[in-house]
Amino acid sequence: MVEHDAVAVPGATRPEVRAQEHGTGKAAGSWTRPTANWARAFSLREMGVYYALILLIDILALVTLHLGHPNYFSILNITNVMYQASLTAIMAVAMTVILISGNFDLSVASVAALAAAVLTGYADQIGFMPAALLAMTIACLAGLLNGSIVQLLGINAFIVTLGTLTAIRGIVLIFTDGHSLSVQNPGVLDAMAAFESGRVNVVLPLVVIGLALLASAVWSIRQARAAGDAAVTPRSVGAIVAALCVLAVVIATRGVVPIPKPVLYMLGFTALIWFTLTYTIVGRRLYAVGGNPEAARLSGINVVRYKLLAFVLSSGAAGFAGILFASRLHSINPAGLQGAELTVIAAAILGGTALYGGAGSVIKTLAGALLLYSLTNGFNILNLGANYQGLIEGIVVVTAAAIYTVGGQRKTA
C-alpha cells in the first residue's frame, strides 16, 4: 500500500508546506508545542523507580561506610548485584512486553526450569550448543502453546499460564524423575563456563555510549533551538546525566570495567527490546494492541500475531534465563527457580508497567529488578537475615503500585 502525506481534500496542507512550517517553527498554522512538563517528567510516577534505586544505593553505601565494610560503590559489588539480578531482569523485560500487549505470563519460571533441565539432560550426549538450541526451541514452543490457548480459545491468560505453570513444572519433574541432574562431560563444562562465567572489560563500549549520548543530547538541543522550541527538554537532560555517569564510571575505574557475561546479555536484551518498543512500527503496534485491541484490529493490525509474539518472547527469554541458570550451576534441581515468576512480575510492577496493557517501559523494569536485588544485597550486607526480606520486599512492591496508581490519576476535577 502506497502512503503519502498529501490527501485530496480541499484546504489540505500540502507536503511542501511542511518544510516551511518546520523551518520557521512558529509559522502561521503551526501549533504551539507544549512546553516540556518538567514537574510531570520528574514526578514520582515517571521517575519513582530511579529515585528509589538511587536512594537505596546511597543508604547502603553510607551504612557500609559507617560499618567499615569494603566500598559499596566498588565496581565489583555493583556488578555483583547486577549479576544476581540478570536472570530475573531478562525475564522481567520480556514480561513487560507481554504486559504491554495486554496479557500475563505466570509460567516463566517453570519454562526456565524446563529449559535448564533439557540443557543439563542432553548436553552430555549432544554437546552444549545443540542442547541449548533444543532448550530454546522447547521454551518457545511453550510460549506458542500458552499464546495459542489464550488467543485462539479466548481463555484468560492468567488462568492458562497458572495451568501451564503447574503442568510444565510437572514435566520437569517427570523429565528429571525428581532427581537433580548435573553435567559431567568436561567439554560441556568448558562450554558452559565460556558462555556464562568470566568478565569482559567493556570500557571501550562505555566510552562510545557515553559520547554518543552526549552527542545526541547536544544534537537534539540544537535541533529544538533551530525550530524555536524550548531548547532543553527533560529527555536531553536525562541523556546528559546518563552520559556523565557512564564517563564518570570509566574515569573512576581507571578504564577497567569488568562486566560478567550474563549482565552483558541482560543489557543487550534490554537495549534491543527498548529500541524495538520505542522506535519501530512493531513497538507502536504492540502498545496499540495492548491499549485497545479492537481499535488496533480495526486499524488493520493482526492483533493475534502480536499477542502470540509477546508470549513467544516471554517464554524464549525464560528459556534463555534457564540456560544461564543451568550453565551457572552445571546442574538443575527439579524445584529450581520455583517462585521466581513472582519476583519477575514484581520487577515489572516496580517499573510502572500497567497490568491492563498498553503502558510500560523496559528500562524502568530493569531498574525495578536492580532495586529488588539491591534490597537483597542490602540485607546481606547489614546481616539482617532473610526473615525480614519477604516483608520488606512486599511492602516495597505495594508502595510502588500505590504511587503509580495514585500518581497516575490525572486531575480531572
Binding site: D5, H22, R33, I281, N292, A296, S299, N302, A359, T412
Partner: protein
Amino acid sequence: MTEQDDRPVAASETLLRLEGIAKTFPNGTVALRSIDLTVERGRVHGLLGANGAGKSTLIKIISGAIPPSGGDMIWKGRPTRWQSPRAANDGGVATIHQHIPLVPDLSVIENVFLGAHGVWRRDPSAHRRFDALCARVGYQIDPDSRLGDLSIGARQMVAILQALGTGADLIIMDEPTASLATDERELVYAVVRRLSQVEHKAILFVSHFLDEIVTLTDCVTVIRDGTQVMHAETDDIDEDRIAKAIVGKEVAALTRLQPASVDMDGNVDVHAKPVLELRDLCSPGRLAPVSLRIAAGEVIGIAGLLGSGRSELLHAVFGADAAATGEVLVNGRRIGRGTAAAVRAGIALVPEDRMQQGLVPGFEIWRNTTLPALRGVSRGTFMPDANRERMRGWNAVQRLSIKAASPDALVTELSGGNAQKVTIAKWLFSDVRVFLLDEPTAGIDIGAKTDILRLVRQLAADGNAVIIVSSEFEELLAVATRLIVMRDGRCVAEHPAGNVSEHELLLLAGGRDTAAAGVAAHSHRHAAGTTGQ
C-alpha cells in the same frame, strides 16, 4: 419568559435554581462561566449545546459528581451543595448517564435496586416495588432476565427504572436516545411525558436531536462555551433557531447540502469498473448474501435500524468478521480475509463506537492518526519519525477542524465530535479507495456533523467509493447517491437517492406494511407527541 403553556402543568413550582454557576478545573480549563437555570416540577427542560459547550460539566455539578467553583444552587428553596452523588441522590436528584452504568451480570431487578440500602440480596418486597415502578412508567420487563442479554433500548429503560426507584424529583437524562432505534425512542418519549405530566417530576433532558427537543420539551436552554445563550419556551421557537443558538452562527444546515444525485448523476458511470465489488458476501446468522458493485464517486447509504445487519455488513466487507464468506474485490482484485488485508487493499472502516473500537485511549491525536499507515511517516520502512507523525497529526487537526491545541492532546480529552474526527482522520493519509463509515455522526453536534458530511461528499468526488450507515435517514438522503435499506440482516430495497423519501426509508427499514404507513410515518419524527397522549 412567557407563560403561555397549554400543557396540563399542575403546579409550576420551582425545584432547582442555579445562579451564576461556574466551574474552573484545577488545570485552568474554564468549563462553565456563569449559568442560570431554573427547573420546574412537571416540565421537561431541554438542555442543548455543542460538544464541549459544558453540558456534561453542568450535569455533573447538579448530580453532585463534582463541586462548582462559583455560584449558588438552590434546591427546593434551600441553598445546597452536594457532597457526593449519593447525597444528591438522597436529596432527590437522579441522573441517567449517557453510558449506562449498569452491571451486565446482574438481573434487571437487582440493577434497578442497585443503590438500595439493606443487607439481603433477595428482598421479598423488591418484586412488589418493581411491579409498582413498571406500572408507573407503563413499561413491562422481566425482572429476572440478565441485563447483559437485553437490547440497548431495554437497558436504557432499566436505567430509567433505576432512577425512578430512588424516588427522585428531578431526573436528568443525558442523551438517553442517542443509541436507540426509532421505536425504542418512542418508548423513552412516552415515559418522559408520563413522568412530567402524571407524576409532576422535573426532567432535564439533554439531546443532540433537535426534532425530539422540539416535540418533547416544554422549555429549552442552550449553552455555548460555558455560558447560557438562549432560554425560551419551546412553543416560541423552532429547530432552526435552536441550531443557530448552538453553533452561534448561521448554520450550514444539512438541508444546504443538495441531494447528491443533483450534481453526481452526470459523473457516475455505473457501468465503469467498480472500485468495490461484493460477491455473495454473507455471515451465518448475521448477514444474508449480499452482492453489490460500487463505482468511483458513489456514496451508498445504508438505511437500517439498530440490529438490522448494517454494521455487520461493513465488518464483513472489512474482513473483521471471521465467519464471513464470499468475495470482496477492490479495483477488480480479490482481497484476502482479515483486517490487515483489507487495509492493504485500501479499505477504511470508521467503526460505530469511536472510543471502544476506533481509538487507543492512551495515545495522543498524532499516534492515533498514524496508526493504520505508519509506513508513510517512517524512516526506512520500520522506524516511525515522531516529528513527521506530529506534523501529520497537526494536518489532521487543521483539515478536519478538530478542536485541540496541539496534536499532543490525548484523544480521551477530546469531546465526542472531535474524537470522531480523529477516527476519520486516521484514514486520510494513505491510499484508501473505499471508505466504510458506521454512524459517523452519532452523538455529535450539528457543526461537526455538517463538517463530516461535507467530507463524505468530498471523498466521493475525489473518486473513492463510500458506504455510509446512519440512523439519521435525512443525512443519508443528503449525501448518498444510492440507498440500500437493510432489515434482519438482509438488503430489502435499493433506490437511487432522488427516488425515495425519508418517510419511505423509515417504512422499509421498520418493516411496516404500507397500510400503516401514514400513521407510522406521522408518528416518527414530528409527532412523537401522539404516543404520549
